[in-house]
Structures are given as C-alpha cells and as structure tokens.
Symmetry: C3
Subunit: 344 residues, 3 copies
C-alpha cells in the first residue's frame, strides 16, 4: 500500500545521459525512463503492449522507442506509431505513460491520477542546483520497505548507537542533546537538535582540524512519503547556535529520498553537500565515503529488521517516547492512503 | 497445463552413453532416463517408491537400477525386484515407467496414457540420420514457458529486429519479404517466405563468399506442442525460387524442439544442418556458433518477457496481423488440452 | 509441527565463548544465545520489542544485551532495563526468554511452556564429559526436515549402500547382520546389530591394523524428537560379542542431535568418540574426517529426498520391513504432538 498521487524520485538526471534506456521498478510497476532527442524526459510502461517484451531492451529513435522484438515503435506519449509490415494501427496499441519532471538534478515521477500531477508540488532540494554547494549524488538499493528507512531517519538519536564511530561520535548524544518541540507539518515534521560542547564526529574530523570541541546542530525536515532534508552544523563552542548564530561554523546540507520499488525493496537516493571553497572535490569525496560507511551501518540493521518482521507479521511493535516523529509520519501516510482509497 | 498424450523430446541419444543415469524434469515430473545392458532406453519415475530417494543417485545394474539409499532394485518396467534383507516383495512396490523411443538421434517420451502411445506418431526430422546432412546437436535451458518460444518461432519476421546482425541481415526483411498463405495443418501450420535480391545474412557470409546478392527462402513447418522444422536456402538472384528452382543454391535444415520442464521453464533442443561436401566440420562448428549467438538474442528477450508477464498475470496482450500463425498454434494446443480433459 | 515441550540442542558450549552473541533459528523462532559475565547461558528472542531489530547485532554488557539500534538494554530475563533518553520503562517492554541449560558440553533449550521445563529430562550423553573419551564436536546445516535424518538413522542398514566405502564396508551387511528385537521405549527404541566375521570398515582400518577380520556390533538408542546414541565396536572374531564379551575389542561412542530450524531445515550436531590412549588427537581427527565424509553421503541423498517430496506432497511412501524402527519413532512424535495440541 503506497500513496499514489504524489511525486517520487525516479532517478538522478545523470542516469539518463547518452541515450540510456533505464529500467526501474517503482511501486511494483515496471517503468522505462529515457531522454528523447528533444531533451525531454519520458517515463512509460516498460512492457510492449503486443507480447509484453521489455521496451528497455529496445532502441531509442529520436523521441520514440522501438521494441526490438517485432519492431513496434512508440512515441513519447506511449502511442504505437509504427508496426512493421502492417498499415493500420489500432488505437488500443499503446503503453501507459507517466507524468515526469526534472527538478533539482532529480527525475520525478507521478504514479497516480495524471490529472492531479502538479510540478509545483515537487519538494525541491534547492542546494542541488546552487553552485556554492557541492556533493556527490548517491544511490543504494535496499531490501526493506521504505518506511523502515524513514522510521530510522525520523529519530536521528540513532546516530548515538548505530553511528558512534562514523556519523555520531558519542553514545552520550541522546542524553546530552536538547531539541526544539517537533513542528507538525501537514506533510511531515520539522525539528532542531542541539548538542553543545561536543566532540566533532569522526566524519568531520577527517578534514576539519581547528575545532576540537564544537556546538552541534541538526535541523531535520521530513516529508511524506519519503523525503529527508537536513541542515547540520558545527560551531565554535558558546557562540549561541540556539539563538541562530552560525558565525565561524561549518555546515552541511543533506537530502535523502526513498522510493518504494516493492513492499520489501526500496530505491534510496541521497546527497551530502558542503560549501567549502578549498579542496572542494576532496571534501566531497571524503564526505561521500564517510556517509556511505554510515549508511551501510543503517542498511545492515534495517534489512535484518525487515527479515525479522517478515518472519512474524503478527509481532506487535512497542512504542517509546522517541517514536513521536516516526508515529506522526506514519499517521500522515496512512491518512493519505485512506483518502485516496475513499476517493477511488 | 500441457498436452499429455503426445511425444516430447526427452534428450539427445548421446546423453545416455556410457551408463549415464540422466535426471530430467518433464511436465513437472522427475524422470530418470538410462540405457540398459540390452541397449534399450528406459524412462521411469526418478523417485524410489520406498522413501522418495532419487533413483538417479543410484546405480545401473544390467537393465535395472538400484536405489543406493536402502538398496531396492528396480527392473526396466519399474517393478521392484529386490529388497535387501526382505524375502517377499509386495506388488505395490514399483515406480512408474514411461513409453520411450529413440528416433532420429533423439530420445522421445510419452507422458500421458500409455495405451495411446504410438511410435509412428513421432514427428521425425529425417535429416538427423541422413549421412549427407551435418550439424551439431544443441541444448539450452530456458527460464520461460515453452509457448513463448513457439510464439517467437511462429513469426520468423522477428529475425529483422532480434537477429539483424546474426541470422537476419536487414531490418527491411519484414517489408521486403513475401510469403505463401499459411497452410493450416491439423497439428500446426506450414508456409514459405521469400526475400528476393537480398544480402546474405551474417551467419552465411562467414563461409559463403561467391554470392553477394541472393534470393532467400524459408519454409517453416511447426507442429504442436513444440516442434519447428525449417528449410532455409539462398539462391543466385533471379533463378526463380518461387517456382521451386533450387539450382546453384545453398541450403540448410533446422530442427528445434521445446519440451516443458515446468510452467515457466523449458528444455530446448536444436540442430542446424548443412550438406556441404568440403570443410564439413568447420562449417558445422561455424553454424553452431552463429545459431547459438542468435538463440541467446532470443533467450534474453523471451526470459525477460516471462518475467514481465509473471509480474502482472492480468496484462491483456494485443494482437497484430503477424500473429496469425502463433494464434493458430495456441488454438490447436488449447483444443487438444480441452479434448484430453473432456476424455478424462 | 514440532514437539514444543521438550529439550532441544541449541548449540555446543564452545560456540558461546568470548562474549559471542549467537543467532540461531529454532522451531522457526529467532533466538539469541549468549553467556553473560556471570557465566550463565541466556536464551532470548532475537528481536528487540521496540522496532524488531536483531539483538544479535547488539552488544553484550555484563549479563545484559544492548540493542544497537536505539540503545535499549535488556537483562538476562528479557526485561528492558534502560531506554536512553527516557526515564520510565513500561513493563510491556520485554522480550521472551527461554529456559536454557548447559549439560554435557551442549547448550539445551526448551521451546514450550516454561512451567514444564525440567533439567532432569535432558538426555545426557555422558561420554562428552568423561575424560577417557575423546572426539571433535561437529555441526552441519541440513536442507531437510529433521525427520528425514532420524528416519535415516533409525535403519542403520543404510550403511550397506550409502556408506559402503566409508562407514559401512560391505553391501552384504544387510544380509549378514543379525539383530536383537527392537526394544520399544516410551520415548524411542533400542536395539543391537551384530555382524560376525566381517571386514573392518574403511574408517577404522585407517588406524587399526592388527584385526583384519572382526565381529562387529552396533547398539543404537534413539529418542524423540531427534537424538541418536550409538555404541559401536569391533572384537577379535569368535570372542562372543552376542553374550556381552568385549575383551580385546575397540569401541566408539557416537551422539547425534537434530534440532529443527524450520519445517525444511535442520541443525545437526554430532560427535564421534574413542577411548584410545595413544595418538589420541590423531585418532580424533581421523574419525572426525571419516565420519564427515560419511555424513556428506547421507546429506546428498536426504536433501535430494526433501526436494523430491516437496515437489509432490501427495506422494504415498511404501513401507518395507526395515521401517519398523522409523515407523515407531514417527508414531511417538505424532502422539506427543497430538497430546500437546489437546492440552492447549
């Protein structure tokens, strides 16, 4: 069960260069993504309407794609425009196409009712196109439901135990951090956590040498179905980050998007960005490697968690106080699914 | 759902030399095939009637096979003839045996009612035992239903797009070819396609250098459940192949047999033969390698097609004009299955 | 369907040294096994009650284990004793713990009603802690139901065909052996087989050179659900082993325990022991390697048998005379399961 009338990330724009025919399953539907000669991105059913051959094994021809089984040609709306050896083409010979947009270096797809698709609703991560911010786009395939990943992100206290030696830095993070009240948004939530007079976490210590002790902040915004926006920073101790003073600090921007492939697998897109002016590429690479190390720590736990939950679907989860944000997110998702079902 | 009262290819005769106990699943039934001391081929259930051990893990003893778990010995009719440590043998201790014949270097098995098995019904491919014709027997395991393979063969126009650079030669094949009306047979169909003034396809160009342009013909006969007989030839341009003149031409004989292993997997047997008198083995090897290259092109499309169809069993296929032959074949199969069911 | 109110082997004691958190699925339940600072073995659900993370990915802290996802700490009764960042702990936050005992170098677990667990019911194999007996503990993972393995052991005549060249020695074993009547036990059976004037089997010939011909005996005791106790010996010919004379003989003790992992997979623990006084370790290693060679012969047949049975659940097995012991064992198991169900 997924929200259908919403934008999902289908891929990075770089995945479609050079005439690629990208096959990707999204919400259990097999999708073909490509960029035609007119430079517009196309998303259509990856299944020829004739005998079910995969169009991603076909050939790009201008703005069209040709099925390389019997040669049927489809335009970028999914209509069949040529059948070799046959003159008339019945209008039933077409494949489904999907609304698709490129915003912020990401390709976005709308899996629901076309009439409701509105480009303005795409939750853009503005730093991706800001020339002052730098980072390497990442992709991971997860063997878990997307909500086990959003659960994980909704309580960043997990950095204390999961990421002690990578992204966190101290098991005392949970006890020592303070946080603003969670701001409930219509589509998610927002909150900031402070950790004063803390050590720099390992992933930043690799290239920041002048601040042994810091005041740390993490401003998290999450939106359903699966978007995570983070502003993270480290300031000289005592500057007053709680009052908004960012002077002398070093900060990062992080975006993560989870797109369901199936009920038990997920496409995970992410980027971690910095605005340093020297050693720009070296720092991007260091961050990318560090974050990946941390993400593999998450992946090991979450994929095992999926396996445990699958083994006993009747297992009742027990909430703790720190679950407020994840509970809110799951509640919003459930409401949206109910609403879609009622309308249908 | 398969036709049961029909002959299927169970293997090549060379697979049973040297006392091999060959395990092969056919129509979802586990079968043991072997050649006893009397040189007769035997096909029986590959499952000891005692505790279900696989007889293919046993030992050939004369015309019998011994289960190497507890030592029960079965003769070539499937009857248990020895239980170590036990004097009397209840007649219920037997395994099922199947009618089996060796015809044309192929081992044929009858999976249905024994009383209906008639050796004369085996669709022999006479060239396999004709000393003037040469070719290498081939086997492939397919992850698809056998009918997706017969569909493919029923419209050889697919050589235009799938095999352009191997067995086909030109994407214009479909537009430029002409064909005789399909002759509907009780058990299949027959037709001939002509492609005049065409280029030699890549697989023939490898060893035929003296005919840059040719008139090409393909005479296809297909029989249910899954047999494909092809006479294929290339004549000097303008000789009149449509009128049956084969003078100066080079021609080939091709046989393909598809035997269901399960609903989604298939045993695929094939041979591609020539009657050249020089470089006989070199040409056989060249043809075998070229055809295999083409068959891997089919396999990639068809196995993906199976995957696509499995993902959405409700998907409605849309026919095109070129589907006449495959539709006829599928109709014949359906009629036969219905008739068998009605009789049962 | 398994007997629940009974002791199963969960592991060897050596598997829990050095603070290991051992994850093992038993009767389809995911279990965590460890030895706390107090040296007592603990068995608990391998699933955090909060979000289902695997506790075996956690950290041992004294007698407790900490979930390394959000830091919840559980004591050795399964009670949650710490939630980082939260003061009060609802009593519902606990994981299930299981009665567990270490007896005879083996860790035993009780999967049923705790109130019925009685350490005295553990079927100890006394030789494991007897300093005069030596052997190497073994473990194998089986892709079969545990009863296909107990079936195999219940008729040791299978050594004639399965283990001719390893543990058996002669295909005539079945014809030439004699046996005492099977003694039906409440929980299993017991019997002795004699094979007079036989050759030493290959696994003994490796280190016993002075007895070319021997009288052999095998005293088998089996208990449900899956325990096999064997006293095996080889005497100078004509000493009168049937009357109990063991003089001048060499003998072995063998224990095998089968613990269901799932309906189609099994944990298999075993040890083969000798009481020689010279070359002690060499003989232990030789025996371990020989027995393992034989066990792989069993495994090949039994795992294939599982595959054959899975393919056709309606297949009716046909009993032979040698099945008396296995039939009795299966009957005892069925009775116990029925009794447990009736009580529930």
């Amino acid at each position: 069960m997924f929200i259908k009338n919403t934008w999902y990330v289908a891929g990075w724009d770089y995945e479609l260069i050079d005439g690629a025919l990208l096959a990707r399953t999204i919400l259990n539907e097999k999708i073909l993504l490509y960029k035609g000669a007119d430079n517009a991105v196309v998303a259509m059913e990856d299944r020829c309407c004739h005998r079910g051959a995969a169009l991603s094994q076909g050939r790009l021809e201008g703005n069209c794609v040709r099925c390389m089984y019997h040669g049927l040609l489809f335009d970028n709306t999914g209509a069949c425009v040529e059948i070799p050896g046959q003159e008339s083409i019945p209008p039933s010979l077409k494949v489904r196409s999907y609304p698709v947009e490129t915003v912020g270096r990401l390709v976005w797809i709308w899996m629901g009712d076309k009439a409701l698709a509105n480009k303005a609703d795409i939750p853009e991560f503005e730093y991706l196109t800001n020339p002052e911010w730098h980072g390497m786009p990442g992709y991971m395939h997860y063997k878990s439901n997307y909500q086990l990943i959003t659960d994980n992100l909704a309580d960043i206290n997990h950095i204390a135990y999961v990421h002690t030696n990578t992204l966190g830095g101290s098991e005392n993070y949970i006890a020592e951090q303070t946080q603003t009240p969670m701001e409930r948004l219509e589509n998610g939530f927002k909150l900031t956590k402070y950790h004063l007079n803390s050590d720099l976490p390992p992933f930043v210590r690799k290239f920041v040498k002048h601040m042994p002790k810091v005041d740390r902040w993490n401003t998290v915004k999450m939106l359903v179905p699966g978007f995570f926006f983070l502003e993270s920073g480290f300031s000289p101790v005592g500057n007053g980050i709680e009052k908004g003073n960012r002077e002398g600090s070093i900060s990062f921007r992080n975006f993560q998007a989870m797109t369901p492939e199936s009920e038990t697998t997920t496409h995970f897109f992410w980027v971690y960005m910095h605005n340093q002016r020297e050693d720009v590429d070296q720092i991007s690479r260091s961050l990318s490697a560090s974050i990946l190390e941390g993400f593999y720590e998450d992946k090991a736990i979450i994929e095992k968690q999926q396996e445990v939950l699958d083994a006993d679907p009747a297992f009742p989860l027990r909430a703790i106080a720190a679950d407020a944000a994840l509970s809110h997110l799951r509640w919003v998702v459930d409401q949206k699914i109910k609403k879609e079902r009622a309308a249908a």
